[in-house]
């Protein structure tokens, strides 16, 4: 499945729930990348998607670019892409 998903019906509550869930899973993925190096590629790809979704949510939720959460996610994403 490819393409872009537009989610205009995402309410603020849903965005908050999703952001929290993504944060928790990102922490777990970061730990798994260290623990399970033989599938690090798959986990890193998942982590990249996770952080991308987090960044999109943070932006839509009104976090400014200088916000430390947004900067942290963007920095980690750049690190993975680099």
């Amino acid at each position: 499945m490819t393409g872009t998903v537009h989610t205009p019906t995402f309410t603020s509550d849903q965005a908050i729930a999703t952001k929290h869930a993504l944060e928790a899973r990102a922490d777990a993925l970061e730990a798994h990348v260290v623990d399970l190096p033989w599938i690090a590629d798959i986990l890193t790809s998942d982590l990249r998607d996770n952080l991308g979704a987090q960044l999109a949510l943070l932006t839509a939720m009104g976090y400014p670019p200088e916000d430390h959460r947004r900067r942290k996610v963007a920095a980690r994403l750049a690190e993975l892409d680099g």
């Binding site: 998903v5 965005a15 899973r25 998607d49 991308g52």
Partner: protein, 142 residues
């Protein structure tokens, strides 16, 4: 001050919100790290998720655009979060916060599935599987 009659079965106390009102449960070993727009978020699980769905976002600007892989990642994360919250609630007793979180996670999953173009029946099937029920069988099937 510790109160042993908390829903988690671990030494914990009620957090005091900045306005002086009673907040959520915080384990005694946790410290409140972040203060976001006048609201606080404790640092350690399991209290982090319960009763603290407040966030520092200043309001949605209207839309969120995710790529399909990002949406799938969000779906997986929400399902995982819902499962964990449900397991905690079933172990220690359901609270209003647990209901709110599981419902919020489920609603967000359904919103994403709809945006992915999944029909209602498929969404129901997906939810059934997540909750540990078998897939839907067509009416009249053996």
């Amino acid at each position: 001050m510790s109160e042993r009659t908390n829903p988690f079965g671990v030494p914990a106390h009620r957090h005091t919100n900045p306005d002086g009102s009673e907040g959520g449960w915080v384990s005694d070993t946790a410290t409140v790290l972040a203060r976001i727009q006048g609201r606080t978020r404790p640092a350690a699980p399991p209290c982090r998720r319960v009763g603290h769905r407040a966030d520092g976002g200043v309001g949605m600007t209207g839309t969120v655009t995710l790529t399909t892989p990002q949406a799938c990642s969000a779906l997986y994360a929400l399902a995982d979060e819902e499962r964990r919250t449900r397991a905690t609630a079933e172990r220690y007793g359901w609270t209003a916060a647990h209901h709110r979180i599981t419902e919020g996670d489920a609603a967000a999953q359904v919103a994403i599935l709809r945006q992915l173009g999944r029909p209602g029946r498929q969404i129901c099937g997906f939810r059934r599987i997540q909750l540990g029920f078998g897939p839907l069988t067509p009416a009249g099937a053996a």
